[in-house]
């Protein structure tokens, strides 16, 4: 029991230090305040204990004191708020160009898909020093992807995508926990994040049984489901041309403009009438129940990979490298 007895979590990401810094500040502040209050109580209790012949002094109060000990704490709280908000803003804003990993959570396991095609269950291999963005959804109930060593956590919801990101700074193996109660084996829904030196990571990539990249499998699903019937790339079909749409604003029938992000693509496949593109009719069939979450993530990856068409000519869709336009 005593050979492995940590008191502080490992720091293995670029963001962990920031979180720890604020935490340590708060620990010191809290320790100071707690000791101060305990000490004052102790000192007053002893110094002013009941003694014969000595009466208490009736003190009504002191408005200046009240204001002081309202305003100073408020000031400190504002500082803490801003500090925490800045860290949170960075935590929730993945950098551009991050490698994407798709995560599908289900009772009671984590399924992960790399862009390059590797699939993992309950394990995530990543290289040191790379920004990794997780695009996550759940097949059933709410889960939560938690890696204490990276200080990241994000609830994983059924019906939509949520994202998290990290930049691993230290190779090693770290706990992955599910942090939102999800039923019987909630505490068994754990795994590990394996951070490898870049060379080792390349070796792992090459050795793994990857059957084509995620976008490639998305492409074959796209064909299988008959999508090109309407979503043509050569002429205007009955559905919008999907090349280059990812990350761009889309004008809808009802006048709204939305950005074509992962959630938009997913919703358009599962519930096409929710957001109909301006100029098109709501005739797209509903694929809810006909595609699995893994197929959806593959389709999303495929559509992301569709670069803008070369000027003029109609071409077949290609697996372009990461597009240049900003995401999120």
């Amino acid at each position: 029991m005593f050979d492995n007895f940590p008191l502080w979590p490992v720091r293995a990401s670029s963001g962990a230090g920031n979180v720890d810094a604020l935490y340590i500040f708060l620990v010191i502040l809290s320790a100071f305040m707690s000791v101060a209050i305990f000490t004052m109580i102790l000192v007053f209790a002893l110094r002013y204990r009941r003694r014969a012949g000595i009466n208490a002094e009736q003190i009504e109060g002191s408005t200046p004191l009240e204001l002081t000990w309202s305003i100073i704490p408020l000031g400190i709280f504002i500082v803490i708020f801003i500090w925490g908000a800045v860290i949170y803003f960075m935590e929730r804003t993945p950098p551009r160009g991050a490698t994407e990993v798709y995560v599908v959570a289900k009772q009671w396991m984590w399924k992960l898909q790399h862009e390059e095609g590797q699939r993992e269950i309950n394990e995530l291999h990543v290289p040191v020093g790379r920004d990794v963005k997780l695009i996550m959804t759940s097949q059933d109930v709410i889960h939560s992807f938690y890696v204490p060593a990276f200080r990241i956590k994000q609830d994983v919801l059924p019906g939509r995508y949520t994202t998290a990101w990290f930049h691993a700074t230290k190779s090693g193996t770290y706990h992955l926990f599910c942090a939102e109660y999800c039923g019987t084996m909630h505490s068994g829904m754990i795994g590990q994040v394996v951070v490898m030196e870049p060379a080792d990571y390349q070796a792992w990539l090459a050795g793994g049984g990857a059957s084509g990249s995620l976008a490639a499998s998305g492409s074959s699903i796209f064909q299988q489901l008959g999508c090109p019937t309407c979503h043509r790339f050569d002429t205007q079909g009955r559905g919008p041309n999907l090349v280059g749409i990812f990350g761009k604003p889309v004008q809808l029938e009802d006048g709204r403009t939305v950005v074509a992000d992962e959630n938009y693509i997913r919703e358009s496949i599962l519930s096409p009438s929710a957001k109909v593109v301006s100029g098109f009719k709501p005739i797209m069939p509903v694929f809810q129940g006909l595609v699995t979450e893994e197929q959806l993530t593959a389709l999303v990856a495929y559509i992301k990979s569709l670069g803008p068409p070369p000027a003029g000519a109609a071409t077949a869709p290609s697996l372009a490298p990461k597009p240049q336009y900003p995401k999120e």
């Binding site: 109580i41 009736q58 803003f89 109660y181």
Partner: protein, 544 residues
């Protein structure tokens, strides 16, 4: 001892009538308070028993005491019972019911029959919950998150939901009674600025009960309907939104935590002046801070949802508001401490519990600052850090305040003194056991141990063992008062009207009070906490 004979001569609320019917059909607020005392104590021990089982399971990393499903039911029902059947009613339904009319100089609450109805609703809810437990329990967590609770759990979610629905109405009616009573039934001369701070706290609590609980009620109705009829309001596979449930749930459940803590703060605000023999420091500020907490408490609910998938910007707004609500609590702590300055302090059991409250509530409240900080929250939410935080407030704070209050007003309630030495011993045991149980959990949380885990990685074991050790000590600390309070009802020293020399109208009538509280309607011509006029009784100090 001639004690028994003396009490038999004078008629009071306990001996006015005997028999089951006189208790079960009573409309006397004092008897109803005791009915509640018995019922919530019963549930406290059930909830506590579940806690012990949880801690025993967590002695080892493997799940080897109970099955995973059983464990999930244990923590769910521990939470539901402690929140809805112990903490929320505790001070309001026991001490509030007993004291509110006495403190304002009234003969009873505004609606005595509704008060009794409140208790019966609590009992009906309790029966439903008990039945739910013995027929298999519920395993959704006390938070009932959808879609797990509506579409995946195989346990008695509907029964548990209905039980809490009914308990909610008990709570609403209690709150309604208190607000009307405090507004309309104060004795002549009892102006708002002369109200004891306990009543300001009860008033603020009642406002929250009135306005918040109905939202939980309707949310539970929707969950029950969804589960029964397979609707889709919270289920994404049927067009619904699971986050809508969370918003509706936390809109009540955050103010609910203020329902649980404000009354304890009110108790402490009575005890510290009495055992310092001086007026509370900053009466107006303490009174207004209770109202401020009640109001701001309604504005911060989504700080339970920072990683749930809400937008970045709403998270920031809720974080900022959460810091705002911390200020009045801090003000209270400073005022209580300042009250002791230049006081004349004695170390009775209530005062010891009050010391414990101030210290532990401070620690719990400070850790709230950690949780409100967005960057930290991401790491520690849904971990043992949160568990430690709320147990510091609820057990180190609310329960200690409750124990302080029960001890302080025990002479008034029962006409007897509890044994002081045992009281102090139990307070010390509770304090030590509590800290040993919950302080390691802060460390566990930052290390990353998630909540609601039946099994855990081995490196967390040492801290878990410490925590379990603490919980057994804590349990002893709670059993002792059960024993000596019961003992005192027969063998305790007879109390006179005002054994503590305390200010407040309740101490101006006999212990125990007559059924209609006062022989004559009091007329108040003095300010609250007029300790300069009240002599300290010689025995109060009870010093060795």
């Amino acid at each position: 001892m001639a004690t028994a004979a003396i009490t038999a001569e004078r008629e009071h609320y306990l001996n006015k009538e005997y028999g089951i019917r006189s208790w079960l059909l009573t409309t006397d607020h004092k008897r109803i308070a005791l009915l509640y005392l018995a019922s919530i104590t019963f549930f406290f021990f059930i909830g506590g028993f579940f806690a012990l089982l949880i801690r025993l399971e967590l002695l080892t990393p493997a799940g080897d005491l109970v099955q995973a499903d059983t464990y999930n039911k244990l923590f769910t029902m521990h939470g539901q019972i402690m929140v809805f059947f112990f903490l929320i009613p505790s001070i309001p339904a026991v001490l509030g019911n007993f004291l509110v009319p006495l403190m304002i100089g009234a003969k009873d609450l505004a609606f005595p029959r509704i008060n009794l109805l409140s208790w019966y609703l609590y009992i009906i809810a309790g029966v439903l919950m008990f039945h739910c437990i013995v027929t298999g329990g519920v395993d959704t967590g006390w938070t009932f998150y959808t879609p797990f609770s509506t579409a995946f759990s195989n346990t008695h979610v509907i029964e548990a939901g209905l039980s809490i629905f009914v308990a909610g109405f008990s709570s609403i009616l209690t709150g309604l009674n208190f607000v009307v009573t405090i507004h309309r039934m104060r004795a002549p001369g009892m102006t708002w600025s002369r109200l004891p701070l306990f009543l300001w706290a009860m008033y603020a609590t009642s406002i929250i009960q009135l306005l918040g609980t109905p939202v939980l009620a309707v949310t539970l109705v929707l969950v029950v309907c969804e589960r029964a009829f397979h609707l889709g309001i919270f289920d994404p596979t049927r067009g619904g939104d699971p986050l809508l449930f969370q918003h509706l749930f936390w809109f009540y459940s955050h103010p609910a935590v203020y329902i649980m803590i404000l009354p304890s703060m009110g108790v402490v605000a009575e005890i510290v002046p009495c055992f310092s023999r001086k007026r509370i420091f900053g009466y107006k500020f303490v009174a207004m801070s209770s109202i401020a907490i009640a109001v701001f408490g309604f504005l911060v609910w989504a700080h339970h949802m920072f990683v749930a998938g809400i937008s970045l910007y709403s998270a920031m707004i809720f974080s900022a508001l959460s810091y705002l609500v911390a200020v009045p609590s801090a003000v209270k702590v400073f005022n209580w401490t300042a009250t002791m300055y230049k006081g004349s302090i004695s170390f009775t059991t209530p005062m010891l519990y009050a010391f414990g409250f101030v210290g532990l509530f401070t620690m719990g409240g400070l850790t709230g600052l950690f949780l409100a900080a967005l960057g930290i929250n991401v790491h520690v939410t849904d971990t043992y850090f949160v568990i430690a935080h709320f147990h510091y407030i609820m057990v180190g704070g609310a329960v200690m305040g409750y124990m302080a209050g029960i001890h302080f007003w025990w002479p008034k309630i029962s006409g007897r003194m509890y044994p002081e030495a045992w009281g102090r011993l139990a307070a010390l045991i509770v304090f030590l056991g509590f800290n040993l149980t919950f302080f390691p959990q802060f460390i566990l949380g930052y290390l990353g141990m998630p909540r609601r885990y039946w099994q855990y990685p081995p490196e967390f074991q040492v801290l878990n063992v410490l925590s379990t050790a603490g919980s057994t000590i804590l349990a002893v600390g709670y059993v002792l008062p059960m024993v000596y309070f019961l003992w005192s009802m027969r063998y305790g020293k007879i109390a006179d009207d005002n054994p503590w020399g305390a200010a407040g109208l309740e101490w101006k009538t006999a212990s125990p009070p007559p059924t209609f509280n006062f022989d004559e309607t009091p007329e108040v011509t003095w300010e609250a906490y007029n300790y300069e006029e009240i002599p300290a009784p010689a025995e109060v100090a009870l010093e060795r």
